[in-house]
């Protein structure tokens, strides 16, 4: 196949800057800078689309993009069946269960049946509590999850945490880590097969750029 490969990148948020930087270090420049959602690059065989990090797994799953950079937690949350070619050394975070510091919840065992869990990762959260045999109600929030317990909306939360600072500021304490995440370079399965040499070439370039880079 000779068409261009399409790489989906986060359009904003904490993965946006380092991803663009990494690409630049791998020698790939976006040609239409600014707010363009589809951009040609200095590599004539590669184009870039900028979409929400959360949607990258969806684009990849259906082959609307061939390659993508997004968080591992978002891939798992989407349940997307993708190839995760490379772990990238940024976007490191943990998905944790956190409870108010002044509550009696110090471990998962203390979670009462029927507790309400606020999260923007409902799929992972439901699976986790199901696996622990805890019957909880999962409440999906798009953002500001850490406010939910203080506002009486939830008893505990499942949220990403990198330093733990946000949790502390909101009077929350992490009681358990569900998964550890970093940014990933992921690939649609069929695209990988069709473009294997080009994909592997790009992976090597990015790997090369990583060698000399500490974001």
């Amino acid at each position: 196949m000779n068409r261009r490969m399409r790489l989906a990148m986060p359009s904003k948020g904490r993965l946006h800057g380092p991803s663009l930087d990494l690409l630049r270090r791998a020698g790939i420049e976006l040609l239409s800078e600014g707010r363009s959602y589809l951009s040609e690059t200095s590599d004539p065989s590669l184009e870039v689309i900028l979409v929400r990090a959360k949607d990258v797994p969806l684009y990849l799953h259906y082959g609307a993009a061939d390659l993508g950079i997004t968080g591992y937690d978002l891939i798992v949350e989407r349940g997307a069946d993708l190839y995760e070619l490379l772990s990238l050394p940024y976007g490191e975070c943990k998905l944790v269960v956190a409870a108010p510091e002044d509550s009696d919840i110090r471990s998962i065992e203390d979670v009462e049946p029927g507790s309400v869990v606020a999260t923007s990762h409902p799929r992972i959260a439901s699976k986790f509590f199901e696996g622990m045999n805890k019957d909880v109600e999962v409440l999906e929030l798009e953002g500001s999850v850490e406010l939910a317990p203080r506002l009486g909306l939830a008893d505990l939360i499942v949220d990403i945490s990198s330093s733990g600072e946000t949790l502390r500021r909101n009077g929350l304490r992490a009681i358990c880590t569900i998964l550890e995440s970093t940014a990933k370079l992921a690939c649609n399965k069929v695209s990988y097969r069709a473009f294997e040499d080009r994909v592997e070439g790009l992976v090597r370039r990015i790997e090369g750029a990583l060698g000399e880079w500490a974001p």
């Binding site: 259906y62 082959g63 609307a64 989407r78 772990s87 399965k189 069929v190 097969r193 069709a194 294997e196």
Partner: protein
């Protein structure tokens, strides 16, 4: 307005007809290869799936209780029911036995919009042979079926792997939680991550090189030329059988479409040997897949009967083909208006006998002027009362007088082709 449940959809008119044509075309290819049809019920006992397709796939099945408390499931995939049917009603049939099915399957869990909870599969199963030629035959059939649909130019490819080879190799070399991690990384094709687990384990360098070489190997000739210094008899046997499958596939002329992928994992647990996925350009997910399942039929009848097969996902196939890529139904559609209904009904009967779609107007009317009911027809026929017909070509608007014989000559018998 009432919508269809999540993950299901309606097909109407052209789309439904295109679906039927797709099914008929696949049926025709299967039949030409000597495969015969089986139909199993949509409802099965849960046991048909629970001990066979694996816990992950069972989780995704629609399950419920019958009135007497027995657990039932909607058909979650096509192979296990076909194996059950074979074990119960065809166990004395001559082998090898070639079977095909076109059936709806139902899977409960998906939160990908566009992933269907109900979709059709067309599958073929070759039961009773463990020869590599049977693996090659079903792979070649899967390609032929797609080529017969006119998809030969769409970069069809088969990615071929093995259900147990990597698993066994890894458990011999790594074992334990690291072995599980390596398999999980391989499933997600993080080759670097997986191979890093082998480093620093004091493995002989040739063992590491074999694993890395197998994982990177794509083409059949590379594999056949590889020297894999593994003494384990079980693994050597698997490698030998696998090489046989590749050689037979070459004989079928599908070698150029064959790519090896030893990290390939299918989500169904009954596979025991070669496994494969079929993909085409322009569709981001494989259009089908299959493999060898030598221990499945045994679960239903206690006899070890080897088998191999594949299934195509027809909803994905429709999506990948796009509308209109299947030959259109070019039969002419004719409507007959007359004040003399018997005459109109008789003309319709004659036309239908010649393969032309004929509808009798419900009105007693003989006007040639347009009306809503003419929508979608090619010709309007109005008998003149003297044995001749007035025929309006509804596409061009032209009207002429003709006889039934004259009309039939013009329509050329209609017909599907």
């Amino acid at each position: 307005m009432l919508r269809t449940p999540l993950g299901t959809r309606d097909y109407a008119l052209e789309e439904a007809e295109a679906y039927s044509r797709l099914e008929r075309a696949l049926e025709r290819t299967f039949e030409l290869w000597g495969y015969r049809e089986v139909r199993t019920p949509c409802l099965e006992s849960l046991e048909v799936f629970s001990g066979t397709i694996g816990p992950g796939a069972v989780d995704r099945a629609f399950k419920f209780q019958d009135y007497d408390g027995r657990l039932l499931a909607l058909r979650a995939e096509g192979t296990a029911p076909t194996a059950r049917l074979f074990a119960s009603t065809l166990i004395n049939a001559p082998r090898p036995c070639r079977l095909f099915y076109i059936a709806k399957v139902f899977r409960f869990a998906t939160d990908f919009p566009g992933d269907f909870r109900e979709f059709s599969q067309a599958g073929a199963e070759l039961i009773g042979s463990g020869e590599p030629s049977s693996d090659a035959e079903v792979m070649a059939l899967s390609i032929a079926a797609l080529e017969d649909l006119g998809l030969g130019g769409r970069g069809l490819r088969i990615d071929l792997g093995h259900a147990n080879l990597m698993r066994e190799l890894i458990s011999r070399l790594l074992g334990g939680p690291d072995g599980e991690r390596a398999l999980d990384l391989l499933r997600r094709r993080d080759l670097r991550g997986a191979l890093s687990l082998f480093k620093g384990r004091g493995l002989p360098p040739e063992a590491y090189d074999s694993i890395a070489g197998l994982l990177r190997c794509r083409r059949a000739d590379e594999f056949l030329a590889m020297d894999i210094p593994i003494a384990d008899a079980g693994i050597r046997e698997m490698l030998k059988g696998f090489a046989g499958v590749i050689e037979e596939a070459e004989e079928y002329g599908i070698g150029d479409k064959l790519f090896l992928d030893f990290s390939l994992i299918r989500d169904l647990e009954y596979y025991t040997g070669a496994i494969f996925e079929i993909s085409m350009e322009g569709l981001g997910v494989p259009v089908g897949g299959g493999g060898r399942y030598d221990a499945l039929i045994e679960k239903f009848c206690g006899l070890r009967i080897p088998a191999v097969g594949f299934a195509l996902n027809l909803n994905r196939l429709m999506e990948g083909m796009g509308a209109g890529s299947l030959r259109e139904d070019r039969r002419k559609r004719v409507i007959i208006r007359s004040k003399n209904r018997r005459e109109a009904i008789e003309i319709a009967r004659e036309l239908r006998g010649k393969g032309i779609i004929a509808v009798v107007s419900l009105e007693r009317d003989d006007s040639l002027s347009k009306g809503g009911e003419l929508e979608g027809f090619d010709y309007l026929i109005v008998p003149s009362g003297d044995g001749s017909l007035r025929i309006a070509d509804l596409r061009s608007g032209a009207v002429k007088a003709s006889s039934l014989e004259g009309l039939l000559a013009e329509l050329g018998g209609g017909g599907f082709e």
